[in-house]
């Protein structure tokens, strides 16, 4: 509404109408309909969006101010008590050290994905086969992956058998100690998500016009120089997106550790801890507050990252 008045004011200030003939304004009804039509089209998606995304989030924020246990018909408003409790219990945030393993793993993951994407963007034999091979782990559902790898890491399981074929008879319990378990779990997550990063990178690389390479080759640039000066700048926005996704993914790692170890042996992540608060100890209020805090932390990290590494705005590509 402010927009219309503002525009009207501007029009009035522009002085007498110019000589260009202005088409007669459409009748009021038509104008109303015209304004309404896009909204009518948007009703369905907006309703879905509000019902399944914003209402639950609003609900969760509301619960975070109560002492609800998740099932009782009664709940009491407790103000910021849950947040105060969270911030006065530093041990609840110690689990973020576990995210370090996943963060390190995502660095490996991005490097691997970038390497494969670059190689497969050139003409390589069996190119499509390798593309499929790299992407397929991402298509398998996380629960299945967790179960497969549970057998993989078992005592005398797949990993041990493969190692013994190579002559390495290890007696190592892969999920037995905190360090080993976390490294193993982070490895599974690398296996799973490399494909996704790879496809994103490959798409970005292929959108770079081919004549650039040609020109570079004429100038005598080798493959590394092509990567350094053509590919790397070309995929920067996608790279930034991937890094943000990886960081938020590391902070909120859940599926694989939850199914494989249930958070035992020092593999508990912040989300597993939140789930346990809500569903084991029936502190739905506190758990909701923890979820809100995680959201804020991820937003803060993303903001910080955007501050430190700003996008090149002049290119007009801005994915995040």
């Amino acid at each position: 509404m402010t927009d219309t008045t503002h525009q009207a004011a501007v029009r009035a200030a522009a002085g007498p109408p110019s000589a260009v003939p202005v088409p007669a304004p459409a009748p009021r009804r038509t104008r109303v309909w015209r304004g309404l039509t896009p909204w009518l089209f948007l009703i369905a998606p907006l309703a879905l969006l509000v019902t399944f995304t914003y209402a639950p989030i609003a609900n969760m924020v509301a619960y975070s101010f109560t002492d609800w246990d998740g099932v009782s018909p009664e709940l009491h408003y407790t103000g910021a008590h849950n947040y105060a409790e969270l911030l006065t219990r530093p041990e609840l945030f110690e689990v973020f050290w576990v995210s370090g393993y996943y963060l390190a793993a995502s660095a490996v993951q991005i490097a691997a994905a970038l390497y494969f994407a670059t190689i497969l963007s050139f003409n390589v034999r069996f190119r499509n086969f390798f593309k499929g091979l790299l992407f397929f782990p991402y298509l398998i559902n996380g629960v299945a992956i967790a179960f497969v790898f549970l057998y993989f890491f078992q005592d005398g399981g797949t990993l041990d058998s493969v190692l013994s074929l190579l002559g390495l008879h290890s007696d190592h319990a892969w999920l037995g100690t905190p360090v080993s378990a976390n490294v193993s779990l982070a490895g599974v997550s690398v296996w799973r998500y490399t494909g996704l990063n790879f496809v994103l990178f490959l798409g970005a690389i292929q959108s770079i016009p081919g004549d650039l390479y040609e020109a570079a080759e004429l100038d005598g640039a080798n493959r590394w120089q092509q990567f350094r000066h053509i590919i790397a700048p070309g995929i920067r926005p996608v790279l930034a997106l991937t890094v943000i996704l990886s960081i938020s993914g590391s902070l909120s790692a859940f599926e694989i550790p939850y199914i494989m170890t249930g958070g035992a042996t020092g593999t508990e992540t912040f989300v597993i801890q939140t789930v346990k608060l809500a569903f084991q100890f029936n502190k739905t209020g506190l758990a909701s507050a923890a979820a809100v805090v995680l959201l804020l932390i991820i937003l803060a990290v993303t903001w910080l990252q955007r501050r430190l590494v700003p996008d090149s705005v002049d290119k007009g590509v801005d994915l995040v």
Binding site: M1, T2, A55, V71, S72
Partner: protein, 437 residues
């Protein structure tokens, strides 16, 4: 409308919607009366159960057909939930949680009258049934468990015999030396923690009551430090620690497999597991499937004696209750009564009958021979214990702290047992102060 107004409106709508969801009705104090004339009871009732296996193989249908011989006008439908606790917890927020359901552990005892219809007074029901005080609020009973269970060690008799052990150990120390004998004289893994399946570790909490043979054991949890020197939980947790610490458990606990552990115990690859009477039938089945004798599956009480006798705690399984919103409370009540008294469900599961007058099941014959004393631990303070448990985040009914204990025992976690148990005790007693009685 500019963008900000739209956003504000959307947020407002979302908040409004949020206000509408959540709490259901708060009716309270209904009764589910028993009918005198079975032919008059009618209606379709839905029974929620966690026994997916029994629904799938048609056993529940057979019970229903048997039930219909007495109550021809009642139609019974079953709904089996794989993840019973989690699924029912969410449905408890609505009115649609079946006509007959198993009381989930998450419901606070004081909230029973808001969710379930009463089955009668405790004074009256306790004459006939066991476990009434587990579901009693203000003198009224809200649920009835169809079976009773008693915790204990499931063991392979053959393996124990081969190790030269002929009688049940009477102290934790003796139990440990028996396990050592098994380790040195047989190929079996002396003890299997089932670490990865989590809940088998939780069952160590049901040691409570056995070593002291005290019917007030639960009350003591509510009032003191559960890990004080000589207390039941400390005795149990120390035994578990020692088993793992002395290398008497499986090599890699992180990748254990519950389903596989059953045939392995039957075949003598595993010697012992701490579970309960309910598990015996499953291990016997596993033995039959593996082609070995089910008679080799043995069951023994916790290795501690009070006054020269072993002590076995009998406690209820999930209790069946009538939904307070049910349209057919009489029919629902009829099902619970029939299922508890006449279905034979307890015998089919080799379990202890919920009827006080019934004899012990045959699998507990050795218990009778050894003169094991059966006690029921009072649950008068059970609700408070649960509340302290949640508040302190110790989780004696959850697997986490025992997983930590096992990690500690096998050196995957730093610290000493004394410090670990003292830490639990501190958290527990601090929560005790904040939880109102």
């Amino acid at each position: 409308m500019n963008r900000r107004t739209v956003l504000a409106l959307a947020a407002g709508t979302a908040l409004l919607l949020a206000g509408c969801t959540g709490t259901g009705g708060t009716s309270k104090g209904a009764e589910a009366p028993a009918s005198d004339d079975p032919s008059k009871v009618s209606g379709t009732i839905k029974v929620l159960t966690q026994r997916t296996d029994l629904v799938q193989d048609g056993t529940m249908k057979k019970y229903a057909a048997e039930f219909n011989k007495t109550y021809p006008k009642v139609k019974v439908e079953f709904e089996a939930l794989t993840d019973y606790e989690a699924d029912v917890k969410i449905r408890m927020n609505t009115k649609d949680y079946g006509d007959v359901l198993l009381i989930p552990a998450v419901i606070k005892k004081n909230d029973y009258p808001k969710f379930f219809a009463s089955l009668g007074t405790q004074a009256e029901r306790s004459k006939k049934y066991r476990f009434t005080d587990f579901t009693t609020v203000d003198g009224k009973v809200y649920g009835q468990s169809p079976i009773g269970v008693s915790p204990g060690f499931v063991y392979n008799k053959k393996v124990w015999r081969e190790a030269g052990v002929s009688k049940w150990p009477t102290t934790p120390a003796e139990f440990l030396s028996d396990l050592k004998a098994i380790k040195s004289k047989t190929d079996a893994t002396p003890y299997y923690t089932n670490f990865a399946a989590q809940w088998p570790l939780t069952s160590w909490t049901y040691v409570n009551g056995s070593p002291s043979c005290d019917t007030q054991a639960t009350t003591k949890l509510a009032e003191g430090d559960p890990w004080a020197m000589g207390s039941d939980l400390r005795v149990g947790d120390t035994l578990l620690y020692d088993i793992v610490h002395q290398g008497l458990a499986e090599k890699d606990p992180a990748t254990t497999n519950w389903e596989l552990s059953k045939p392995q115990l039957a075949k003598g690859k595993i010697a012992t597991q701490w579970l309960g009477t309910w598990a015996i039938i499953q291990f016997q089945d596993a033995a039959r499937k593996a082609g070995v004798s089910p008679d080799d599956i043995g069951f023994m009480p916790f290795p501690a004696q009070a006054g020269g006798r072993f002590c076995a705690v009998v406690s209820p399984d999930y209790s069946q209750a009538v939904n307070i919103n049910s349209q057919h409370k009489e029919a629902a009540r009829a099902w619970i009564d029939w299922f508890t008294d006449k279905s034979g469900y307890d015998k089919d599961n080799l379990a202890i009958s919920p009827l006080k007058s019934a004899p012990l099941p045959s699998v507990l014959k050795p218990y009778e021979d050894q003169g094991v004393k059966f006690i029921e631990v009072s649950d008068a303070k059970g609700a408070q214990v649960k509340e302290i448990d949640d508040q302190s985040e110790v989780g004696i009914y959850k697997p986490d702290y025992r997983q930590d204990l096992v990690d500690l025992a096998r050196g995957a976690r730093k610290g000493s047992l004394d410090d670990f148990l003292a830490g639990l005790g501190k958290k527990w007693t601090e929560a005790q102060k904040t939880v109102g009685s």
